[in-house]
Amino acid sequence: MSEITMIEAIRQAMTQEMERDSRVLILGEDVGRNGGVFRATDGLIDQFGEERVMDTPLAESAIIGTAVGMSLNGLRPIAEIQFLGFIYEAMDQVANQAARVRFRSTGRYHVPMVIRSPYGGGVRTPELHSDSLEALFSHTPGLKVVMPSNPYDAKGLLIAAIRDEDPVLFFEPMKLYRSTKQEVPDQLYEIPIGKAKVVREGNQATIVSWGPCVPMLEKLVDQYKKEGAHLELIDLRTVAPIDAETILESVEKTERLMIVHEAVKTNGIGAEVAALVSEKGVFSLSAPILRITGFDTPYPVGTIEDDWLPNEKRIKDAIQQLLSY
């Protein structure tokens, strides 16, 4: 075990998988000599060489399309998109190609690749560097979408993603890259994709979230506990597929549900979770389902982003509302 940050956990997962499996390689912009703009691949080019850590020309569609070709012919690429907002450039290769090859060839071909990309707000980036786009990909059959919130999960989920036989989008909340350290096993381990985690147990209301909002919610739930309110917090960890069982079990107990995410509200993952509970757990509910999310505008400039993101005040108001039923 060692105490490491999320960025170190991610680097460790890639390093150890590349040591174990010569089919695994990395491609992306600035991932080689520069070690990635967040240093996720720092030192990897020295260890594995330019053939396995490829500084590509600046072309997102080419990165993903090439990775699709590599995975069709026996390699297991980890493609990096420098910021998630840039993935729109590669949308055809992600949604029409990577996602559909298994279906198109009825299983003759498949695409075991990972797309890593930083996302999320609160760090005063320029435009298009902070957008949370998970809903786009969870609306695309054939893709899995993983969104860890801590170093331990990040390592185990990334290893599982690299070993997965289908394309996995692995989104990393950049706000949490270096914000905390956590004990992480030195050896390889997998955390199953599609399995949520109950990070705080409680019986008065359920909060479902993932990625960058989780640490803030943990703190808040702990505060409420001191004040005598017991909230259950579920970290989805994977947003496609969604772990319905864990959510439904929790709602059956708490009878109240709130979903918190940074992405815009309309047609977000929160809507899917709410629909799921409406279909399969509506008789457990004693209160309306609430969503606290980014507002339905493009991600805004730095001077107003803190008022745009889900913040403590908004979440507390919603918890009061839930508990009043």
């Binding site: 912009e29 600035d30 080689g32 000599r33 520069n34 070690g35 703009v37 500084d55 020309p57 600046l58 072309a59 997102e60 569609s61 080419a62 907002g85 840039f86 729109y88 450039e89 005063r124 980036t125 320029p126 435009e127 298009l128 560097h129 509200k265 309309t266 507002f295 339905d296 505008t297 493009p298 805004p300 400039v301 730095g302 001077t303 107003i304 803190d306 008022d307 745009w308 913040n311 403590e312 005040k313 908004r314 108001d317």
Partner: protein
């Protein structure tokens, strides 16, 4: 067979590193050279100021342009005010000359909601973050001009990295097919963040890519403001006369980091940067020329720098004294559609309420 070896490579140069004109024919007057130099100097001072402000936490992530002043300013000098500019995020020097107010550049750097708003009478598109996306916008704006029978041209500014993107190649092809009055102005500053241009492409130049699309391609010393002006002037004239698009590659150098978030010592040596900072600096050779022509001296430079810095500091003080009055989150809802839908109305009210009641920050 078409082979790279068959192409002729020429880099247009007019003013050498010692500030000496390379041939007699000069298409600009000395007064214009002086004016260009003064803009370049202002641009350099603004860039240095913004870089310092970022280090002090007074603005967000910033992409400096020092080293590229001749490429930007020389080319914009060849434009009319009615011509369009489709810029990337590293073009404040050229934008300033084309009419972008200084205040606006500072507001953008400060993350002000209106930082992307360009004044009504200035034909510059908002800062483009996505690499090469604006090359297509130059095609479209140029098409509109041609369609209406106007004589304006559209210029897209981008870097060497952008030439790897599909959008760039699609833009060149469209521009050529439709023979629109567009100019593709590439500042080859030699690095796309950390990746050097020789790893970005296997071709000998960017200019030669024009050949594949059936348009003229020109390579110019991008640190030579007179050479840049001259090749741009020719491209603009061709475009205005209905002779179609041009690709210009201005070979220059990004003296600073890609943005304030990166550390260039990771990917290039001090020895690599030094000559560009000294003898190859785009301001130096113009200053030498002007000094040799008795149009400029140390005293004039000192006074000019002082005046501009005072103006800039005063403007920044004014802006910073009003930071509390910057637009609030609820105003953001006004710019999503022409008319707000019901959900946006509801969310806008919620955003305002939370902000007004909130004691969670400030």
């Amino acid at each position: 067979m078409f082979r790279e070896e068959d192409l002729t490579f020429e880099r247009v140069e007019r003013l050498n590193e010692d500030g000496v004109l390379l041939h007699d024919k000069k298409v600009v007057s000395d007064e214009q050279v002086l004016e260009m130099y003064q803009w370049m100097l202002k641009a350099r001072l603004l860039d240095e100021k913004l870089l310092r402000m970022q280090r002090q936490g007074r603005i967000g992530t910033y992409a400096p342009y020092s080293g590229q002043e001749a490429a930007q300013i020389g080319s914009v000098f060849a434009l009319e005010k009615s011509d369009w500019i489709c810029p990337s995020y590293r073009e404040h020097a050229g934008n300033m000359v084309h009419g972008m107010p200084l205040e606006q550049i500072i507001l953008y750097a400060k993350g002000h909601l209106h930082g992307g708003r360009v004044p009504e009478d200035v034909n510059i598109l908002p800062v483009q973050i996505i690499i090469a996306a604006q090359t297509l916008h130059a095609v479209g704006t140029a098409y509109a001009q041609k369609y209406r029978g106007e004589k304006h041209v559209s210029v897209s500014y981008f870097g060497d990295g952008a030439t790897s993107q599909g959008d760039f190649h699609e833009a060149l092809n469209f521009a050529s097919v439709y023979q629109v009055p567009a100019i593709f102005f590439c500042q080859n500053n030699q690095y796309a963040i950390s990746v050097p241009v020789e790893k970005q492409m296997a071709s000998k130049s960017i200019a030669q890519k024009a050949v594949a699309y059936g348009m003229p391609g020109v390579q110019v010393d991008g640190n030579d403001v007179l050479a840049v002006y001259e090749v741009m002037k020719e491209a603009v004239e061709r475009a205005r006369n209905g002779e179609g698009p041009t690709l210009i590659e201005a070979v220059t150098y990004r003296l600073g980091p890609h943005t304030t978030s990166d550390d260039p010592t990771k990917y290039r040596s001090k020895e690599n940067v030094e000559p560009w900072r000294e003898v190859k600096d785009p301001l130096r050779r113009v200053r030498l020329y002007l000094e040799n022509s008795n149009l400029w001296d140390v005293e004039k430079e000192k006074a000019f720098v002082q005046t501009f810095q005072d103006e800039l500091d005063h403007m920044i003080d004014e802006i910073e004294s009003k930071e509390k009055e910057f637009p609030k989150v609820e105003e953001a809802f006004e710019y999503v559609y022409q008319e707000k839908n019901a959900q946006l109305e509801e969310q806008q009210a919620e955003a305002r309420r939370i902000r007004e009641e909130g004691d969670w920050h400030e």
